[in-house]
Symmetry: C2
Subunit: 231 residues, 2 copies
């Protein structure tokens, strides 16, 4: 698979969502124009993005919705199970733990962590919130059962994000989804040798930022000269 | 200003965050290498992204942190006030209303809305949650004072997102930040003529999706062949 632009990955996530809506409406085939309209991009952009993942669709007939969805899910690794822990069970951690559909796509919440005495011990959707000091033992207990903890969702206050990320990585969690409004210093994050899979980048960090969305929206609202361009 | 790729806008938001960290550490100048390291991209990418916004930096000296930050804030429209309402005061709406720094960058929460009888009337950070039936009158009451409601944050359940978006737009709110896991049908969103500013796109929608972050992370964790590419 060729190197895929980050913006394409983001759009493919949207295409999958559109394909699921079409399936829910019992639509069997869709043109690039229809996918583009629902995803808010141009048909050319849809066709260009999909070329990274293979040859899909037939001129004049369009894409078979179920096939394209299945292939894109596989391309993004969403046909396998990903075990997730949430670190930081404030309002945001709770919102995510209760997010509808968070257990679709094989994302499985397996552990919830915090340090606040009035939060640790509470139960959310069948999981008891554990103290951060239990993170290492917990991740070790899951490893090789044959599951493992794949991702840590970081929903702690900004000033604790780097330390919490380090705790996750030290415990052997190689993927971090960072919700804290801070840029994590990834060069300081070293996965212990025992956990680093061959050929895998040491630690993968992806950021989700509420304010980033507001900032992008502000920019696009400035006027037509500032509109998003095709890439 | 030339058309700016959406991915560049997203990265500039990260650069601004990095520049703020540098300012907080009393760093006056930074090279593209330093910015790149902290933002998790290549120095070439930093320099290429910044060319969209003007000429910054001096070879061998780097960028003046305060100047670059100010210019990027201005380019993104973050030097002006944006008034925000939140529609949907469940856990996610509460998390955002309480998000630290959400009132930085001149984002001002001015109204909170829901339909649940046990939620309407509650107070969050000095604002009383209003019933959705009050959205239109509220937006009208703010308009021309000389403020207006610029953005609506959509944090309702997926099945109510389209209707809530339509209510926002009907009330005259032209910018929507959608947190619901659904692609809004923007062709069905028409700003009333009285509200449409000349030269502005009718309705601007930007999506924030928890699951999208997890999906991108899953893809990047698949292995090095699937890593993010420079664009």
């Amino acid at each position: 698979m060729a190197d895929i632009p980050t913006a394409t990955v983001g759009r493919v996530v949207t295409y999958i969502r559109v394909l699921e809506e079409l399936e829910a409406q019992n639509v069997l085939r869709a043109s690039s124009g229809e996918l583009a309209r629902r995803a808010g991009v141009t048909p050319f952009q849809v066709r260009k993005d999909l070329t990274y993942f293979g040859r899909f669709g037939t001129r004049g007939i369009g894409y078979t919705v179920a096939v394209l969805r299945r292939e894109l899910l596989r391309a993004l690794g969403l046909d396998q199970t990903w075990n997730v822990v949430i670190v930081g069970m404030g309002r945001l951690g709770h919102a995510i733990a209760n997010y509808p559909g968070a257990s679709d796509y094989q994302f499985q919440n397996v552990g919830l962590f915090d340090v606040a005495p009035d939060v640790v011990g509470r139960e959310v959707r069948g999981l008891t919130i554990q103290h951060m000091s239990q993170l290492g033992p917990f991740v070790a207990s899951v490893a090789g059962t044959p599951r493992q903890v794949d991702m840590g969702l970081l929903t702690v206050p900004a000033e604790h994000a780097q330390a919490a990320a380090q705790a996750l990585v030290a415990a052997g969690v190689g993927g971090i989804l960072n919700f804290a409004p801070v840029v994590l210093q990834t060069q300081d994050l070293h996965l212990p040798e025992a956990f680093a899979a061959p050929g895998r980048r040491e630690v993968t960090v992806e950021n989700v930022d509420f304010l980033a969305g507001m900032k992008r929206l502000a920019f696009y609202m400035l006027g037509p000269q500032a509109g998003p361009a095709e890439e």
